[in-house]
Every structure is written in C-alpha cells, then in structure tokens.
Symmetry: C2
Subunit: 186 residues, 2 copies
Amino acid sequence: MARWEPGSRGRLEKAAFELFAEQGFSATTVPEITARAGLSTRTFHRYFADKREIVFGSEDIPANAAQVLADASPSDEPLDVIMKSLRTFAETRFEGRRDDLRMRGEIIRSDPGLRERDLQKREAVGRVAYEALVARGVQPTRASLLAETCVTLLYVSVQEWLGRDDEKPLADIIADTLETLRSALT
Amino acid sequence: MARWEPGSRGRLEKAAFELFAEQGFSATTVPEITARAGLSTRTFHRYFADKREIVFGSEDIPANAAQVLADASPSDEPLDVIMKSLRTFAETRFEGRRDDLRMRGEIIRSDPGLRERDLQKREAVGRVAYEALVARGVQPTRASLLAETCVTLLYVSVQEWLGRDDEKPLADIIADTLETLRSALT
DNA sequence: ACTGTGATGACACGACGTGACATCAGGTAG
DNA sequence: CTACCTGATGTCACGTCGTGTCATCACAGT
C-alpha cells in the first residue's frame, strides 16, 4: 500500500469543483479544498500555481494548439491554416464536452479574477497562433491580425455553440462565423 | 493650511512610477509606495482597488469609449461607426502621448499580473462597443465580432504605432490595418 | 542492505486587500 | 459663536494567498 493515496491532482480538482458548486468560487478557500481532498495547502500549490488555475483544467491548450498548427500543410494559405486548425480543435477539444464547458463557463463568469485569467488563456492561444504564422513567413502585422481574429472566431463561436439547444457542430458554427465577419467588414 | 497635503492620488501615482522605474513593479510593495507618498496603505486602497490598478491611470476609458460610440451618426453603417470612433479615439486619447504609453507598455510587459489586467481593460472596451452596436440594432453575433475586431484593430495598430520611429498618425495606421485584415480574410 | 528520489507535510513568513472605528479640519446651520 | 455634519485620512486587526525551507518517508534501483 502506497504511503499516499494516488491521484492527488484529481482529488484536488474534484474537491474544488464540489465546493465551488456548493459555495461559489470566491467563498471557497484553498484550505477548504485541501481539507476535503486530504492534502496540505502546500501540495495544492505544487499542482496549481494559484487558486484560479484549478478551474482551467490540466490540458495544455496552447501546446496542443501549437501542435495542430505545426501539422498544417505547408502549401496552405494562412487563412486556410487557421480554419483547418480551428476545425480540428473544435472536433478534438470541444465537441462532446458541452456540459463540462458550460459548467466551467458559469464558474468563470461568476468571478472577476477568473474572467481575467480566462482572457490570459485566450491570449496565450493567440500568441502560439501568431508564432506559427510568423514561422510560415507571414508578415508580423498580418500575423497578429490573423491570430487575434482566429481567437475571436473561436470564442464567439463557442459562445454561440454553448447557447444553442440543438446539436449543430462547433466546426460548422465557426465557418458560419467567419462568413458573418467577412460580411460585417464589407 | 489644510490638515493634509492635497493631491493624494497624484502623489501616490508619482511615488509608484518612481519606484517601478527604480525596482520594477513586482519588487515594489504598497507600503513602499505609501511611505514615499506620505500616506497610509489604507488610503492607497481607497484610490486604487489593488496594486495593479495604479498602472492604468485614472482615465475611465470604457466610459469615454461609450460616449464616443453614442455620439455616432444614426445613419452610419456599423463598421463606419467603429472606424470613426476609432479615429476619434486615436486622436483624443493616444496622439501626443507616445512616450507615456511606451513607458506604461514596458511596465505592463514586465509583469504577468499586469498583462492580465491589461487584457481585462481591453475586454471592457470591447464590451462597451458590443453594447453600443446592439443598441443600434446589430445582431448579437455580428456585434460581438465587430466589437472584438474593433479592439483587435486598435491594439494591433497601437503596437505598430508605438514601434515606429516616424510620426505617422495612429488614425492612419488603423485604416491601413483594416485593409490588411480585409485582405487577410480573402 | 544502502542509497537515492519523489511526493508530501509542517512551519514561518511577507504581501495583499478589507472591515471597523477613531480622528480632525473645514464648512454650515442655528 | 457654538454645535453639528462631512470628507479625507489614520490605526488596528484580520483572513487569505502564495512561497521558501526543511523534514519525512515509501519505494525503486543497485
């Protein structure tokens, strides 16, 4: 028998989300979380840099995005790279997780600090997109614009997707959103 | 003679930016700032919600943006509203302040927490743009896209503007950036 | 059997942000 | 002229957060 129960990280996440559901994010303290998980607060901060980080899960989205972007066909136009990557991303990281994402969204919306952190995550995705485009030889200004627009497309579409009752695939919504943007800029 | 020297807020800002220049943002504590300004830490938090806020000045950018957007001609197309507002904004809040903005930019770039707060400020501007557009009858999804794109245009252009040596007006750069975006989405 | 190694705990600490209450100058009403 | 109110500030106490440091101990490899 191991000295410590395994899965500390998972226990911390479980305890945290339970408490967030019971009392809300801001009313929940780190000691409360660790007490429920049977760990010390010091251990909490070994897994999560701060209290907010636990909300954003363990998936390293930027790294994943960089991977998807790096796999793009060398002959594709920049916009095609973006759109194909967004499709892949939608299908692998979003589709089938609506309930989970809705729950997280609610928690994030409930706290200013979490909204702030959410924006930072978004920006991190934009930065890897920017770097991937620059690596393909796209001009910096154009790359910035495309990267930011990419993130905008994704998040506006996700909002739309989460708000819907039907099962329209996120990838389709993203394509529609691009069309809407094009027409709005004319 | 007044019991307290007037201009507490100004003294706090002055002391803070001096210390940030000397030691950097994160190495500067609130007590250090208030000691130099001759005030208590409690008073600091009466003027600034937290240590980060002091970097972003006292100007209520979102309120100003809302004003500019509300003054737009009722007959303008949404995109024209955005572009004209951006022009006004560039001329009244940015032009002539390059050095100040560069200094702030450096401080903000030096600290993750400040970058996070900066993104929040950006988002706040986006939200007032969104609300102004919805108030004009623009569809929600389209309004989101335009609002986010508006903020993207502004910030990408400001980056470009701050990086330049010449005196090309920000408003012109924004117009160019829109053209770049249009061509990138084709 | 010995020795790392890695995950955890225990403890102390500094900084942050807030609530509650005291202080006091200046203006205003009576 | 006095009494009161108001607004800006100070003082104190507190809870939470995040980090540095060191001790502990099961397990694996030699």
